[in-house]
């Protein structure tokens, strides 16, 4: 989880998979509780890397993939980045290294929701043309609808077959998808809904 601020969704997935009890989810961001505002590998089972400072997770993913090659292990490394996060120079240093070492055991996703904190990515600091950049850096590029599980699964299957190149899956998404008052709203980046808003959101998602 290179975009460490998406910790809540990672925690939810880990709880669902039985890494820790679901009740623990209610203690997120509270003092003396393991579920930190950003993932902490020392505190939470299933978290492979501590993140929170954008751009750093992808480098650590490169390190893990490199170790997999070195040890001739069959595992794959997955990394999830934000479209604002890729403005960090470090991401491109990591991209260069991954291609240089032909890390075909590395599959990265970009959550391409078009927004960062100060506004649309294209207005704040455009990362476009994004596909061309990754091709030019020596990656194999897949572009999908990030809200389609079928497309995600297919893209991962394709990625697994790519040889000698890392793969980037650019997933077009809508921030706050399915919740009328949150969709594409920059203001919802880091806010928790009120009780009423949460009820409304859940009703809309059902």
């Amino acid at each position: 989880m290179s975009k460490g601020h998406a910790a809540p969704v990672l925690y939810a997935a880990l709880a669902e998979r039985g890494f820790f009890p679901r009740e623990e989810l209610l203690n997120i961001r509270k003092i003396n509780c393991p579920l930190q505002g950003h993932p902490d590998m020392q505190k939470v089972p299933g978290v492979d890397m501590s993140t929170g400072s954008l751009g750093q997770g992808i480098s650590t993913a490169v390190g893990m993939a490199l170790a997999g090659k070195l040890d001739r292990k069959a595992y794959r490394v997955f990394a999830l980045l934000g479209d604002g996060e890729i403005e960090e120079g470090q991401v491109w240093e990591a991209a260069m290294a991954a291609a240089h070492y032909q890390l075909d055991n590395l599959i990265a996703f970009i959550d391409y929701n078009g927004l960062q904190i100060d506004g649309p990515v294209t207005e704040v600091m455009s990362p476009e043309p994004i596909e061309d950049k990754f091709w030019a850096f020596g990656w194999h590029v897949e572009r999908i609808n990030g809200h389609s599980f079928r497309e995600i699964a297919t893209a991962v299957e394709v990625a697994k077959k790519v040889k000698d190149q890392p793969v980037i899956i650019i997933a077009d998404t809508i921030k706050g998808k399915g919740i009328s008052f949150m969709e594409n709203q920059v203001g919802w980046h880091g806010n928790a809904p009120s009780r009423e808003q949460a009820a409304k959101a859940l009703a809309e998602l059902a």
């Binding site: 460490g4 961001r29 400072s53 960090e88 100060d118 600091m125």
Partner: protein, 311 residues
């Protein structure tokens, strides 16, 4: 007591100073609403540049703008300014002594729920170790606003430490802020508490409670960590014979260290440091974190109790 975050003083000052200085520019790294640099953007959009989530480039671009004669304010969170972009600050700003003001918000534990990855606890230590760098940690919103004006007028690199959380307002508009000059807030003769940032109001409270117990301590707000007001420190050492420092920062390298350096070389007296004890923070409410990590009125009082018998 009224509570306002120091970053509000930054935003307010920027909005005002932009009119005064036509060569002033402000940069941010996708956190302009949080750091309050957005207040400048609102009034002078053509002189505001968002560099995106790219703090190293932020500092490099700031240096380039300053090299052409601009007064540059570069803002992001303290952790990313001093951590991610340290070497850009060192080699492109401090070394060539360029006129860049690094105004970093969300310093210290009071960042709160974002947790350890976002809590800058050694930022002053890092910045203080750089030649040419001035380091300022205002105690409240009034002092923050005045400090912004003072650093705009000053020529050279500055690190200005700002906070996220609303904190007590201790000064009124008559407060005079001067770079490198500490201010004494309470007279006393048995010991001196030297504090900066949000620990200043805590220290005042501790001194008031100690006075009720008959222990009369001096309180100094050391808003400038570098250059340190040595004269004020040495006078306190000579006149009160014991020092306690208090800071929302690691006890390594910050205010406590700066004061200790002056004391050991000039006039050693017993000293105690209140601060974060060489550990990372965690998620939680600011008040809870301050308590858990020992940044409270009680901790300051206990440091005074410990230091007095050592005199």
């Amino acid at each position: 007591m009224k509570k306002i975050a120091t970053r509000e003083g930054y935003g307010k000052a920027l909005a005002k100073l932009g009119a005064e200085y036509e060569n002033m520019v402000v940069l941010d790294a996708d956190l302009s609403k949080s750091t309050r640099s957005y207040e400048f953007c609102k009034h002078y959009p053509e002189r505001f540049f968002n560099m995106g989530i790219a703090e190293q480039n932020l500092m490099g671009v700031a240096a380039g703008l300053a090299a052409t004669g601009k007064i540059v304010f570069a803002s992001t969170f303290a952790i990313f300014a001093t951590g991610r972009a340290f070497e850009q600050i060192r080699n492109s700003i401090a070394y060539p002594r360029l006129n860049v003001k690094i105004a970093a918000s969300h310093a210290g534990l009071t960042v709160g729920a974002d947790g350890a990855s976002h809590q800058a606890l050694v930022d002053m230590s890092i910045m203080r170790s750089l030649p040419n760098m001035t380091v300022i940690a205002p105690a409240d919103v009034v002092e923050a606003e005045k400090a912004v004006s003072a650093v705009a007028e000053y020529e050279g690199p500055v690190y200005l430490r700002l906070g996220r959380a609303a904190v007590p307002v201790i000064y009124d508009e008559n407060h005079k802020f001067q770079i490198g000059k500490a201010s004494q807030l309470r007279e006393g003769h048995e010991a001196t508490i030297i504090a900066c940032g949000i620990m200043v109001p805590e220290s005042l409270q501790a001194a008031a409670e100690l006075a009720e117990e008959g222990i009369i301590v001096r309180v100094i707000n050391m808003a400038t960590l570098k250059p340190l007001d040595q004269e004020m420190v040495l006078r306190a050492a000579k006149e009160t014979g014991a020092i306690v420092t208090a800071e929302e920062h690691s006890i390594i390298g910050g205010l406590g260290s700066a004061v200790a350096e002056v004391l050991v070389e000039n006039y050693p007296v017993p000293m105690e440091r209140v601060g974060v004890k060489d550990v990372f923070g965690e998620s939680g409410e600011p008040e809870q974190l301050l308590k858990k990590y020992g940044l409270t009125v009680q901790e300051i009082k206990e440091a005074v109790y410990r230091v007095l018998p050592r005199k």
